[in-house]
């Protein structure tokens, strides 16, 4: 199994909670950036032996800030350079404000078969507070257009725990999302990341975030509504109709290898995780002059990698496979953790089945407490 991630670090505007590598403006750089991506793809093709790709993910930023033609070119270029396995999953992230029927049609025809729409909320007031450039109606329309263009695997991104939000509001958003029958939902509790305007506001006491009691109610609502809608939780923040789980992301949680192209993108091959330079301009210059864009590299020793794989795997509802760990690391989960694991089982935070170690429902609420013991 092989995966490729392509990062498009541009956006219409920067949202106040966003800590991703993404820059508003820089319109003049877009074309040059696409060219640089193609160059880097060629370099990758020549220097790395890549087995057929089973997943490709165009993420951002807002990939759909590019024209349909540019994106289609990018996908077809990858298809020419790298072999794709049958039924490969090719995803793209989209902002409702940046799509139209023609663009969607171009994308679908280029081979993209999964669309992840960044909706965040179906409440216009909340959308405004989040600094999103689209309305709730735009989002609903985007889904219709995507269906019309032939997308039969559509995911929506929503956030909860927003400033000023109560659980009634979240319930409305979630019900509305479910009513348009998405195949997949990513439901994220807002995380106030360092370096974002939200972080500053929170430190100044200006961010009116829901209290923990409300968050717990929202979590319970989420579980109930998704279950009723036939969307099964398969990861801490992800829900899908059976068979529509995102294979690209599952590969991350299994701590599998993945290639990456683009500024700020992170790839992990042969146990080496490399992050590329975040500044798109610098990225272009380096690529054009044939120089390395690697900014940071990390290579964990075997036991540290083992622990990371366990922790990442626990994010998934099915947990981490003991047999796969044994095969990959020649290490036994129970032996390695010993009493630590027994203690977690006794606290009702994890359970050990014949084949897997996984979080219990209670453990999912305290995932960090469990992971901090096992990391």
């Amino acid at each position: 199994m092989s995966s490729l991630y392509i990062h498009i670090p541009f956006c219409l505007s920067k949202c106040p909670y966003c800590s991703f590598v993404s820059y508003p403006g820089m319109d003049k750089l877009h074309q040059r950036y696409v060219a640089a991506l193609l160059l880097e793809a060629q370099w990758l093709h020549q220097n790395a032996s890549v087995s057929p790709l089973s997943t490709l993910f165009l993420g951002g930023g807002t990939p759909t800030i590019f024209s349909g033609r540019e994106l289609a070119q990018l996908v077809s270029c990858c298809q020419e350079l790298f072999a794709f396995s049958d039924q490969a999953e090719i995803s793209i992230e989209a902002n409702p404000k940046t799509i139209n029927p023609e663009k969607l049609s171009l994308l679908r025809h280029s081979g993209i078969n999964r669309l992840s729409i960044g909706v965040q909320s179906f409440n216009d007031k909340e959308l405004q507070l989040l600094g999103r450039p689209h309305s709730a109606e735009d989002a609903a329309e985007a889904v219709q257009l995507a269906r019309a263009a032939g997308f039969d695997n559509i995911s929506l991104d929503l956030m909860y725990g927003l400033p000023g939000q109560d659980h009634y509001s979240w319930q409305q958003t979630l019900e509305q999302a479910i009513s348009i029958a998405p195949d997949h939902l990513s439901l994220y509790e807002l995380t106030v990341e360092q370096g974002t305007p939200y972080h500053l506001q929170r430190n100044q006491g200006l961010l009116d975030l829901p209290d923990e009691e409300n968050m717990v109610i929202m979590d319970q609502l989420t579980a109930t509504l998704c279950r009723q809608a036939g969307l099964a939780q398969y990861e801490i923040s992800n829900y899908a109709r059976p068979g529509y789980e995102c294979r690209h992301n599952i590969n991350y949680w299994q701590n599998g290898p993945y290639l990456a192209l683009g500024a700020g993108a992170v790839g992990c091959v042969d146990g080496r995780r490399r992050q590329k330079t975040c500044d798109p301009r610098h990225y272009c210059e380096q690529i054009e002059s044939g120089q390395s864009v690697v900014q940071e590299e990390e290579c964990l020793e075997r036991t540290a990698s083992f622990r990371e794989t366990v922790v990442m795997g626990l994010r998934m509802t099915c947990g981490v496979s003991k047999i796969q760990l044994q095969q990959r690391y020649e290490m036994d989960l129970d032996d390695y953790y010993g009493d630590t694991l027994i203690h977690l089982v006794n606290q009702g935070l994890v359970e050990i089945t014949a084949s897997h170690l996984r979080l219990t429902a209670r453990g999912r609420s305290f995932a960090n407490q469990v992971m901090a013991e096992l990391v």
Binding site: Y5, Y252, C268
Partner: protein, 598 residues
């Protein structure tokens, strides 16, 4: 001997003692530019960081005076904190003179006086030096008046300098040669050498700093310590030159130098003790020797019980260089095995804690510091108790006595009211005051030592906006009404948090401890009750609500490393916590209980 001058610099903290020493060292070309660093004589990181001197240091400076002759100037740098006043007095008694350093802006302070008295007790010739004359706020004229009128020192001898810029420092060196007397002593009589400090060197064993009063000493001779009759063979003697030691054929009366004699444990070398020859001993030991007295006691535990052996080794090593530290095994239900340690004061305690954590990389928990109480039992026997764990059954106790100190506080007149109030609040007694100089009050007060070790000095500093200074000496033991305050976390007694307190303060202390713990213990997956109890009754209570969730929402390819590091940080935080019952208590919660309310 005519060309030797032994002197010390005495000063209030921050009046520039170490800087002046630095300049003298540079003027006498004792250290190359490459080797030179600020606070030359402060070897330890903690000394440099805090700008205080903890261990005495000695340096021998060859100085060619204006009369064309070369003198051997021995500078003995002494510690500058009340915790170490005995060490200071021993260092002073190895000298004939002292520079009394006074800050040109701040004038005479409590420690200036205390140290001056010490110097006078040791019959030292004093040269007053006004430092920091380069400061804008400097008032050298006014300070000179203080020195003449209030301290009774000769104004004509006052030297003005700026240790920072180096101005006036050469005149000081000249004054040392001119005004300080050379040492007296008889090189041919029996050996009498005063130990005033000792350092431990991993390769060479104990390095004794000593002053030869009478006689001579050289390698190969058998020596004897008069306090314990221990005998050793001298391996090497020499002088302290710059950063290194310079071996000599012999040391002779009047000189200050070092002795190496294969001494493995520093606790055998007691400051104030007299060294003499085994075969030709002197008639009597030098006066002034006292066994060092520990006044503050606390137990030290490793956070991880696996670290016990490491801690044992570390304390042992640390004590090699710090004879004032005492320790013995201790154990706690909550914390496992550790050591009960005795310290000279709170600063000493902090220094030991920092050195253990820093130099030996062990995370520690310290229990609430205690003084030594005398418990008189119904059968009229007396037990000394410095550990809450050994609190006797109250029904068997007829009375308790606690140590009192005599505190001397020097401050500008305007703070008299707040300082008096502070002393009263701390159960102060027998307060007297007088004006040693216009506008300044010297307040003496008898205070329970237990109140002083808690946070008295911090409170005094803030009450007087930094202008109050403080010195104390142990005074006597007085009747007290003592109770044992226990802390329970989720119903479990955390013995390491127990403290002995006066009944009057017990409820407030209990509440304070509960509040501090509430602040410092992170929420956990269940509710936590924190209670303070005396005997069987609860006197204070706080609760920590349960944590409801703790989860990272988002983690994809680009996040893995960063999120893993967050988890590793959380894990490291857990490692620094002590699990009591099922509650994880962080190290800083233990420390917070020791701290006073802000």
């Amino acid at each position: 001997m005519k060309h030797i001058r032994n002197f010390s610099i005495i000063a209030h903290i921050d009046h520039g003692k170490s800087t002046l020493a630095d300049r003298m060292i540079q003027l006498c070309n004792q250290v190359s530019v490459r080797e030179f660093k600020d606070q030359m004589l402060d070897n330890m990181d903690i000394e440099r960081e805090r700008g205080i001197t903890i261990k005495s240091q000695t340096i021998c400076l060859p100085y060619t005076a204006k009369d064309g002759k070369t003198y051997e100037l021995n500078l003995v740098d002494t510690p500058g904190h009340v915790d170490f006043s005995y060490e200071v007095s021993r260092a002073l008694s190895s000298c004939e003179g002292a520079l009394l350093l006074v800050d040109a802006a701040q004038g005479v302070q409590a420690q200036t006086l205390a140290n001056l008295y010490l110097a006078m007790e040791n019959n030292l010739e004093i040269i007053p030096v006004i430092n920091k004359i380069d400061l804008q706020s400097a008032e050298p004229e006014k300070v000179a008046e203080q020195i003449e009128d209030d301290l009774g020192l000769d104004r004509d001898h006052i030297q003005l300098c700026s240790a920072k810029t180096g101005k006036g420092v050469d005149d000081i060196l000249e004054a040392i040669v001119k005004f300080l007397p050379p040492p007296k002593g008889d090189p041919v009589s029996e050996l009498q050498a005063l130990i005033f400090d000792a350092h431990y060197d991993a390769f060479r064993g104990t390095i004794i700093s000593c002053r030869l009063i009478n006689g001579t000493i050289k390698a190969g001779e058998m020596i004897k310590f008069m306090s314990n009759n221990a005998t050793y063979k001298v391996e090497e003697v020499g002088l302290f030159r710059g950063v290194s030691k310079e071996p000599q054929k012999q040391l002779s009366a009047g000189q200050i130098g070092y002795i190496l004699a294969g001494i493995k444990t520093i606790s055998d070398t007691r400051p104030g003790d007299t060294i003499t020859h085994k075969d030709r001993p002197c008639a009597q030991a030098l006066a002034g020797f006292k066994m060092v007295q520990q006044v503050v006691f606390s137990s030290i535990y490793p956070i991880s019980t696996d670290d016990y052996e490491n801690l044992a080794t570390a304390i042992e090593k640390l004590q090699l260089n710090d004879a004032a530290l005492t320790y013995q095994k201790d154990s706690s239900v909550a914390l496992g095995f550790g050591f009960r340690c005795g310290f000279l004061g709170l600063l000493h305690l902090e220094v030991v804690q920092e050195r253990l954590e820093r130099e030996f990389d062990i995370s520690l928990i310290l229990t609430v510091p205690s003084v030594k109480y005398n418990f008189y039992l119904n059968d009229d026997s007396m037990v000394e108790v410095d550990n809450p764990a050994h609190f006797p059954d109250p029904s068997k106790v007829s009375r308790v006595e606690e140590p009192y100190i005599k505190a001397t506080i020097l401050m500008p007149e305007r703070y008299m009211g707040v300082v008096m109030a502070l002393c009263m609040e701390r159960r102060g007694d027998n307060t007297h005051y007088h004006y040693p100089m216009p506008g300044r009050i010297e307040l003496t007060c008898e205070l329970p030592l237990a109140e002083v070790i808690y946070d008295f000095y911090d409170k005094l500093k803030s009450a007087t906006q930094g202008y109050g200074s403080f010195d104390y000496s142990l005074y006597d033991y007085r009747k007290s009404d003592l109770v044992k305050l226990d802390i329970l976390v989720n119903g479990e007694l955390v013995d390491a948090l127990s403290q002995l307190v006066h009944r009057v303060n017990s409820r407030a202390r209990g509440l304070h401890a509960c509040e501090q713990l509430q602040r410092e213990i992170p929420r956990q997956m269940f509710k936590i009750a924190i209670q303070a109890a005396i005997g069987g009754s609860i006197v204070a209570r706080t609760t920590i609500s349960a944590l409801r969730k703790d989860v990272i929402a988002k983690c994809y390819g680009g996040d893995i490393s960063r999120k893993r590091k967050l988890l590793e940080k959380q894990k490291a935080g857990k490692k620094r916590m002590k699990t009591v019952g099922n509650v994880e208590i962080p190290q800083k919660a233990f420390l917070a209980v020791l701290k006073s309310e802000q």
